[in-house]
């Protein structure tokens, strides 16, 4: 289709792809290797590119001296609940934006875009005061509510794209058969949209899992900290303990990486099919 590749062209291509792959994977490899070295070996020359002595001491330290299990649990609860709720809410708004024409529509889309343009720090102070009034500071429910609001704009835009890829003859037929719009949405459209919905949820989950500044602002006590907040505590101390830091980093990255590996196909597919039809 795109013309023949010359041998030279192919060598250049695969060299480039290979170099980029190495460049992409190496930092992840390095942090993993660091985390698996016995603590003293991290600071030993020559640097070992493969652990001489494998050790899980860095990991066990996280759950012994630091309370990393609690942070992981907090992050898991907050990200799952906020991610799922935001997906459900965005599904409704995305559906309307994809299927109806109305006067305020472009204003609503603009309002969604604007939220992405404004630095979040401008809102932190008033948000803290608001949450204090609602008695939701240092409270997982409070963080969940805020994260839902953070996820909604982008999730709506993303799901709207998926809805637009589905012919509306599908729910029309269901509505002619006597289903209400709401049940047509749930019984007919959602099953077709499943990959898109899963991709949207994973997007939300990962965003909440990674969020730092809001959680630092709203969660004070140690038992309520999420993982990024805890990591922020690790780097704030003058001397970073790279052993536990690397282990903590691996534990933070691993879940999101697995989810993305699982969803990347759906995300790319969603974009790709949209482009082909457009």
């Amino acid at each position: 289709m795109i013309g023949k590749e010359s041998t030279v062209g192919r060598v250049v291509k695969f060299t480039f792809l290979g170099v980029w792959l190495l460049f992409t994977v190496f930092p992840l490899y390095w942090i993993t290797v660091t985390s698996l070295k016995a603590p003293g070996d991290i600071f030993k020359f020559p640097l070992a590119y493969w652990p001489e002595r494998f050790s899980l001491e860095n990991y066990s330290g996280l759950f012994g001296t630091a309370d990393f299990g609690t942070y992981l649990t907090n992050s898991l609860i907050v990200s799952t609940v906020a991610g799922a709720t935001a997906t459900a809410i965005s599904m409704l708004s995305a559906y309307v934006l994809a299927r109806f024409e109305f006067r305020t529509k472009s204003a609503l889309l603009m309002a969604a875009l604007v939220t992405q343009m404004i630095p979040s720090f401008i809102a932190l102070g008033p948000l803290y005061l608001l949450m204090t009034d609602l008695r939701l500071v240092d409270n997982r429910l409070g963080l969940i509510l805020v994260y839902i609001a953070v996820c909604i704009p982008f999730c709506t835009v993303m799901l709207r794209g998926f809805f637009e890829n589905i012919p509306d003859a599908l729910e029309e037929a269901a509505m002619i058969d006597g289903l209400s719009r709401f049940s047509a949405l749930f019984r007919v459209l959602l099953p077709v949209m499943r990959p898109g919905i899963i991709a949207a949820f994973i997007f939300n989950f990962v965003n909440c899992w990674n969020e730092l500044f809001l959680s630092v602002t709203l969660m004070n006590s140690d038992s309520n900290k999420t993982v990024p907040t805890a990591l922020n505590g690790f780097i704030s101390s003058f001397n970073i303990d790279w052993g536990s830091m690397s282990a903590a980093a691996v534990l933070t990255i691993l879940p999101t990486m697995l989810l993305f590996a699982f969803a990347s196909r759906h995300i790319v597919q969603g974009l790709t099919s949209g482009a082909v039809k457009g």
Partner: protein, 326 residues
């Protein structure tokens, strides 16, 4: 993200029952009969999203925006009087402001240009099938799953002056004789944060461009081949013009996003050494942490203004030469 999929479905049918089958019940002939009901339906579906975003995003943003015109310091909350543009004058009068602005420009352009070029090359080369292409795509997708803050920490360790692997590799390759204290010198620190951000951001370009490339009809390439167009000519006269809308929108979104992205620098250098790697948004964090909410908020409004101006000019500049259908 849906930028590429919106063009197909905009056929309005103002009244007239015959066409209603084309585009669904709400748009066609029945539209007028059920206006109130339709309005209520729209409102009901939009309400949950609107309430959440209004209460937890817009209200704090607007409340934060007005702090820019007040004396609002955590150190003294008894006096929060209106001070006009004083906070903005303070921002401009700060001796660090020039460095911060310059760094922001370096940060945005130094990130976006390599991201675009490498992302484009990856997309071109990923278009044709090869063994394990799916696995390859999944692997280079990984940086996207990691937070900017954590990427900062990752690269902080890689660029560590004593035990960092970057120094070790460069020494092994004979490129440097002694370890470089990357993050202790403003110039090398800036290079290091840029490398980290390029590592992070290329994937997004690659995915968006690859999706757009796959929308180019094969006939165009066949015609070009018949006309004897070489690779370079095909690239510049067919490929790039055809996907220019996607390219422009992706660049626009990324510039806005990178400008607004303090996380990586915050995790990697914290703005150091000596405040020399601060960009506008990390500077805003620093001022917030010092408790001067008024001035931080003024900085935030400046960011919004700059991004709006940029977005308008950019859209005008890329729309102007619109001879292409997409």
């Amino acid at each position: 993200m849906s930028v590429t999929s919106t063009t197909a479905t905009k056929t309005k049918t103002p009244g007239g029952g015959e066409t209603s089958h084309k585009r669904g019940l709400p748009r066609g002939g029945r539209r007028r009969e059920f206006t109130t009901r339709r309005g209520l339906q729209i409102a009901a579906f939009m309400a949950p999203a609107a309430v959440f975003v209004a209460v937890f995003t817009y209200y704090p943003m607007i409340a934060g925006g007005q702090m820019a015109f007040r004396n609002w310091k955590l150190t003294d909350l008894t006096d929060t009087s209106w001070v006009g543009l004083k906070n903005f004058r303070d921002v401009f009068a700060d001796p660090a402001w020039g460095t911060v602005l310059g760094n922001s420009a370096i940060w945005v352009f130094g990130s976006i240009v390599p991201q675009l070029v490498i992302g484009f090359a990856l997309a071109l080369w990923l278009r044709r099938r090869f063994p394990f292409r799916g696995l390859y795509q999944a692997l280079i997708f990984f940086p996207w799953a990691i937070s900017g803050f954590l990427i900062g920490i990752l690269f902080r360790w890689l660029f560590n002056s004593e035990f960092g692997v970057v120094n070790d590799l460069l020494q092994k390759a004979g490129l440097i004789d002694e370890p470089v204290a990357w993050l202790a010198d403003p110039k090398t620190a800036m290079v290091a944060v840029l490398i980290a951000n390029i590592w992070y951001g290329v994937t997004f370009f690659a995915i968006m461009i690859l999706a757009a490339l796959q929308s180019i009809p094969d006939e165009l390439y066949e015609a070009a081949a018949l006309d004897g167009a070489g690779k370079a000519r095909t690239l510049f006269q067919i490929t790039i013009p055809y996907i220019r809308t996607t390219l422009a929108l992706t660049v626009l979104l990324r510039v806005i996003w990178i400008f607004n992205f303090p996380d990586l620098i915050f995790g990697m250098t914290g703005g150091g050494p000596n405040n020399e790697t601060h960009i506008v948004t990390t500077w805003m964090i620093k001022i917030t942490q010092q408790g001067d909410y008024g001035r931080a908020s003024a900085l935030g409004l400046l960011v919004v203004a700059a991004l709006l101006v940029f977005a308008v000019f950019f859209l005008m500049a890329t729309r102007e030469k619109k001879g292409v259908r997409r």
